[in-house]
């Protein structure tokens, strides 16, 4: 044992080596189950959403628009979010790759830099660490101090973008009450698809407004709450929401995928949308 005496916490005998225990971990529980599940579910979502985005078809069936393709930003779109007069963008990106790719970067970046998803994928994909008190698989770790991971710190910009999407998707969900009237024009109605779109937008809003950056920007930056009562109460509400952030992260992931799937299947004629009203 090396004896090295510290200047001001002297005499504390400093041991040189860690406990000679070779095992990478001593856990006896199924610690691998959670990261494995996360890996499978996230991978499945990425595969499905990429496939769905590549389709460039079956994303609209009146009055429902898939969240993967909202907003419509080109004349070639089978549905118009902002009414008419959009540019007829036919350059290759859209023509070949479908407009979904012009849209998905927004919500995608929000999820990619999300504090909760970072935990989820650093654990399940990076294995850094896969579970608590389980040794990291790789050496040479630099955390979020270098490019590209340092960019994670700009999560709040992704949040600003995500808020815009909540507005757009809420608009889409409102339009989902306007069914085509066989006599021409539109009529008010509610279908299963309307409910699906509303559930999706609620989960997405829950996810977006329970965000850590949102909590900080809206009040967390304040040092003396009693001097800013409005921001203080907002922060308290967002804090309660923030505790549910992981739950909303998963619920909204499922809801956005399933909403697209539902509209896709209806549009393809595989299932029929039931009108409730």
């Amino acid at each position: 044992m090396i004896r090295e005496v510290l200047k001001d916490q002297r005499g504390h005998v400093r041991a040189a080596a860690r406990p000679p225990i070779a095992a990478a971990h001593l856990r006896k529980d199924a610690w691998w189950a959670l990261p494995l599940t996360t890996f499978v579910v996230l991978t499945a979502f990425i595969i499905y959403s990429t496939w769905a985005a590549l389709q460039n078809a079956h994303y609209y069936v009146a009055p429902y628009l898939s969240p993967f393709y909202s907003p419509c930003i080109s004349k070639s779109c089978v549905h118009s979010t902002f009414g008419y007069g959009l540019p007829d963008m036919t350059f290759p990106v859209i023509g070949v790759l479908s407009p979904a790719f012009l849209i998905l970067w927004g919500p995608g970046l929000f999820r990619l830099t999300c504090y909760y998803y970072r935990k989820a994928y650093y654990r399940s994909f990076w294995l850094a660490p896969a579970a608590c008190a389980v040794r990291d698989v790789k050496g040479g770790y630099s955390g979020e101090t270098r490019f590209p991971l340092i960019v994670q710190n700009f999560h709040r910009y992704a949040w600003y973008v995500a808020v815009i999407f909540i507005v757009l998707l809420t608009w889409d969900a409102l339009l989902a009450f306007r069914f085509p009237d066989p006599r021409g024009g539109t009529q008010f109605g509610i279908g299963i698809g309307t409910l699906v779109m509303w559930i999706n937008v609620i989960f997405l809003a829950g996810y977006t407004f329970s965000c850590h950056s949102c909590r900080h920007v809206c009040g967390g930056h304040v040092d003396v709450f009693s001097k800013t009562p409005a921001r203080s109460s907002l922060w308290h509400v967002l804090t309660r929401l923030n505790e549910k952030h992981p739950t909303f992260a998963w619920l909204s992931l499922f809801s956005v995928g399933l909403t697209d799937l539902y509209i896709r299947l209806v549009s393809m004629g595989i299932i029929r949308d039931l009108r409730i009203l």
Partner: protein
């Protein structure tokens, strides 16, 4: 009464092994009671730290079945009767003997945190703070310094090369507590990046998982500090501060 096999690490940096002890337990016993029973009967020299035996001093940290926990707050009825339970020292720190490790790293880091610098008091000489102003920091003051978060943090545990510039979760909440102190005048947001290495944290939240005081280390401490750092490079915030003419704190 149920009997368990305790597989306790015995040894020093030169070498060691897990040794099995068969122990009969009584009602309500915790792992620390079992360790004391082993000391009183079979192995009087079994080294372990403890003080309060009530989850308040944070001395008896160990890894029980591979999970960082306080021995005094781990009830034996958590385990199946007849189960073999491993008790290892907190492996991130250098070993002294058996279950005792050298945690001086934490005391060195503690010294580096820039201390509180208070505003002048109110004209009547008193300091006033509202309960809502101290709630956030009070959560961090619950810390019992068991160093389980430091033990489980993979930056310290698996990437020792970062230790000189990484303070660890315990000190991130110490810094956050100072940052959220309503009367403090020191700006530690730059410091927490350059000197405490908060950027190395990849918020995988094991610190929060093992905290026996249930402090939301990541959500309420580390992430708000990361966000405060982001404020410094956010042009929107910069503009707002210019516009409001907000009085800044003095950098650490």
């Amino acid at each position: 009464m149920p009997t368990y096999t305790m597989r306790v690490f015995r040894g020093d940096p030169g070498g060691g092994e897990f040794k099995d002890y068969r122990v009969e337990t009584g009602e309500g016993m915790v792992v620390l009671d079992v360790i004391h029973r082993i000391q009183a009967t079979e192995a009087p020299d079994l080294a372990c730290r403890w003080n309060c035996k009530a989850g308040k001093c944070g001395s008896c940290s160990a890894e029980i079945n591979g999970k960082p926990r306080l021995m005094c707050m781990t009830r034996m009825n958590l385990f199946e009767e007849g189960e073999t339970i491993s008790v290892a020292p907190i492996r991130t720190f250098p070993l002294i003997r058996d279950l005792v490790t050298d945690v001086s790293y934490n005391y060195e880091k503690a010294k580096q945190v820039p201390p509180l610098r208070l505003k002048p008091p109110d004209p009547d000489g008193k300091y006033r703070m509202m309960q809502e102003d101290v709630d956030r920091a009070q959560e961090f003051h619950k810390c019992i310094e068991c160093f389980l978060c430091q033990d489980v943090c993979h930056v310290i545990r698996d990437h020792e090369e970062h230790k000189p510039k990484f303070a660890g979760p315990r000190f991130f909440i110490k810094i956050a507590g100072l940052a959220m102190h309503p009367l403090d005048t020191v700006d530690r947001t730059k410091w927490v990046g350059t000197h405490a290495g908060v950027g190395l944290c990849n918020i995988t939240k094991c610190c929060t998982e093992v905290c026996p005081e249930h402090i939301h280390i990541t959500d309420n401490g580390i992430i708000p500090m990361k966000e405060r750092m982001a404020d410094n490079v956010d042009p929107v915030v910069w503009l707002l501060r210019k516009f409001r003419g907000a009085k800044g704190k003095q950098p650490a």
